[in-house]
Symmetry: C2
């Protein structure tokens, strides 16, 4: 059986993939950027993923290539595919997670629910969009954005004049993405997986709560989600993953609008922060499922037996490691599941997360928040 | 915080300790016997654990030494302790898991329930014991036995005449252990953990079912265990672990006798086959708990939310790897949690296990047995 998975990128997602690889006896190899990456335990090559020969050499020792992030240049993935390498998700799918304009166009084509959007390449075009959908709109760089970076809320084209300068605009692909500022009641995420045989499975929809543009809490399943809403979200995820031929995990970040609709915000084709709850909270974790899916193995059961709340641990200092607070937090919260990514501390950096399972979201959330304060040493 | 754990032995127990080490961001180093050990991912040294300097060198890079097995000679552990190294469990505790006669004497001293037993060093002494407790009795070599090896059911001293020969007997420590053949209804195991600050936590008692002297199935919690029996088992485990100053995990294998008593059969001071169910079945797995305990961190919650059945995967062939049957078994049993130890196949070898969680033991057991047949390719 093909059982050697090569992961490009040595972040916490690659790190967390090592766990199901150990459990299932699969071989995991990681091409990491640095020696002391989060996934250093499984790292077999340290090198530059934008360098074709490095990636080709790495691919020699594995059956399938997959990803910790979506930043590998498409021409490199296409070159791998031309040489007969199995790239999962394939470049034609991943293109939609790399470029937000490519995504909007594809979602419009397949009939998935977009907010109002437009590709703009000049001050005038953006002002026109603002006049139609403002007073405030969202402007995004099609590539290179994450965790709130590359995204601005603007009421005038002058607020993105730096992006519209010819040299910047050309580096960003020639166009910016303008989107209406959706009036939403909350943000949801629908995580699913699909293998190349076409089997599709979804976890329960979750609510994600952001702070300063970065995911802070995930409530699984999303509280007060109607059966209709849940089914609609899964239908959207299945439409996208089958139409775009996604393999592996697909996270569809969505807005629930004030008038009760779901609109797609972002796509990720890999394990995703909104799915970390599944490590303890679901029969099959998103990391195990991703490995199964990219190896074209049958997918695992995604049901949950209790509710789960996951809270991110963002650095509050540039020198103190939160592992030093384990004694305190473990004593007070014996049921909290703490995850540390082995990264050096930095203010605002994602250093780990905590998951709490319980009978009710409210009590899980309260425990998780208290445990987070204790491990970070904040109040 | 002290967070570097050195494990002596590179078997599946060390392998499974890597998972909570990854989750919690602890540093795990393994001194393995061979390059391609089950724990090769975390192996930092390949060497001989009976060689003092090898073990001393290994101990330099870690905060605490613990074990995948109980075969490290006591004099080596004592030498480490004399140099101020933290050995968990300490040699004075581990002595009881290394030598069954030392164990019987200690259990008698602290008042834990032994079957009738005697140290014998001659044919005559053994015949006398058989006359008193026979017609059949159990004879065990005090050291070196596991999974049914070093254990014989005898009705005459001539059946262990090889062990009683002067040269063998001297290699075994000068005495054999004779025990009554206990009339039992079933075998139980009480898994617990204790840190050096004295905190103690136990998982629910489990029923273990053996085939040919090797653990085949574990039912957690043990079906039809009364509250009295469960409390009695925990009391025994706590008595042993505090009296013998055990740190880390303690597995107490017990007989439930036909007249309703619990008698101690064996002790192990490390993660144990009877506790594998806890990986998915309990809030804190035995592997996480062992790491917490040996680092003297507060212990995690041991409660279970569903029942669990674990079945061992013993090799049925010397060449076929059961990983090749993943497609079949994953398709039919999407909720089965499969664990492969990365060992080369051999008939009868412990190559992995499967855990199934469910609402009832009967249905979990049925699913687990069917999944085992499917993954092993037997009927």
């Amino acid at each position: 059986m093909a059982n050697r998975v090569g992961v490009i990128g040595g972040g916490q997602l690659a790190r967390m993939m090592t766990v199901p690889a150990i459990n299932l006896g699969l071989e995991l190899k990681v091409l990491a950027e640095t020696e002391n990456s989060s996934a250093s335990l499984a790292t077999t090559v340290v090198g530059d993923y934008t360098h074709l020969q490095t990636v080709l050499d790495f691919s020699e020792g594995v059956d399938v290539i997959t990803f910790d992030h979506e930043h590998v240049p498409l021409h490199i993935l296409e070159a791998l595919e031309k040489k007969g390498k199995s790239v999962q998700p394939p470049s034609r799918a991943l293109a939609h997670a790399q470029n937000k304009l490519v995504m909007r166009k594809a979602l419009a084509r397949i009939g998935a629910p977009n907010p109002n959007w437009r590709a703009v390449s000049s001050k005038e075009q953006l002002e026109e969009f603002i006049a139609e959908f403002g007073p405030e709109v969202i402007v995004k760089t099609p590539i290179g954005g994450y965790d709130g970076k590359g995204v601005r809320v603007v009421s005038s084209a002058s607020q993105v004049s730096d992006w519209l300068e010819p040299s910047s605009l050309s580096a960003l692909g020639g166009e910016l993405l303008a989107e209406e500022k959706v009036q939403f009641t909350r943000e949801l995420a629908q995580l699913s997986a699909r293998n190349s045989s076409g089997e599709f499975k979804a976890w329960p929809i979750v609510e994600t709560r952001q702070k300063n543009g970065v995911c802070s809490e995930v409530l699984a399943p999303a509280p007060n989600a109607s059966k209709e809403l849940s089914l609609e979200a899964i239908k959207i995820a299945e439409l996208i993953s089958s139409s775009l031929e996604v393999t592996g995990n697909l996270a569809v970040e969505m807005f629930e609008t004030t008038d009760g609709r779901l609109l797609v915000n972002e796509l990720a084709m890999r394990p995703h922060n909104s799915g970390h709850f599944s490590i303890e909270g679901a029969t099959t974790s998103q990391f195990e499922q991703h490995l199964r899916a990219v190896l074209d193995l049958p997918l695992g059961d995604t049901s949950m037996d209790q509710v789960a709340v996951m809270v991110n641990l963002l650095g509050v200092s540039n020198d103190k490691d939160f592992v030093d607070n384990y004694e305190l937090v473990m004593k007070a919260f014996p049921a909290a599941k703490i995850h540390a990514y082995g990264k050096s501390p930095r203010v605002g950096r994602k250093l780990g997360h905590i998951t709490v399972l319980d009978k009710s979201i409210d009590s899980a959330l309260a425990t998780a928040n208290q445990a987070r304060s204790a491990v970070l040493g904040v109040n």
